[in-house]
Symmetry: C2
Subunit: 113 residues, 2 copies
């Protein structure tokens, strides 16, 4: 089964650009929407709206609250997400295709560095 | 002399995120504004506003018209830009720090692939 977010949740994730180095996804959902579990490579997350989400994986979860333009880094990871706010989510993911040289103990959800 | 856009035009380019893999720049200008010549590494360009610009390098120039959300790729290149439209430019650059394996004959200005 695919873990590509654009395959498992095509109504939420849309591929808006792709070449040999990057893929860019646009994400949109409504309050209460949940994603299926999916995998992100190392990615830049750019919120186009404010949002409030719960990100969960392996029995752990984190709450993520971001304002428009508050750029975050997403270590490569598998997780599921849920819009737990009362506004729509609109966000951009710039996925890096080259593998990371980073440690494998990824931070769950986005991080500030 | 630096060719870093955030150094040569700090009132136009602002570093909004940086780690070991990427740097993210926010660009804002007004009609008639020009940049100094500067160098971009391989980058994703995401227009947050519509804009109309002239990009020039080595006596050549191209006109670039983009709508909000019209994602483009920027091959690593040195150029200067000018806002030749009648609206402000607001755009995001996600710069890749790893060197490109691409051919060095970069496309001047953004490209669709």
């Amino acid at each position: 089964m695919s873990s590509d977010p654009a395959v498992v949740d095509p109504e939420l994730y849309r591929v808006v650009f792709e070449n040999d180095r990057v893929r860019v996804l646009e994400y949109r959902d409504k309050p209460g929407d949940r994603t299926h579990p999916h995998r992100h490579p190392d990615s830049v997350l750019y919120p186009l709206s404010s949002f409030r989400r719960r990100i969960s994986a392996d029995g752990r979860d984190v709450e993520v609250v971001l304002a428009p333009g508050q750029v975050r880094w997403l270590d490569a990871q598998e997780h599921a997400g849920e819009n737990i706010g009362d506004t729509e989510t609109h966000a951009l993911f710039v996925e890096l295709k080259e593998p990371s040289a980073r440690r494998p103990d990824a931070t769950l959800g986005p991080s500030a560095h």
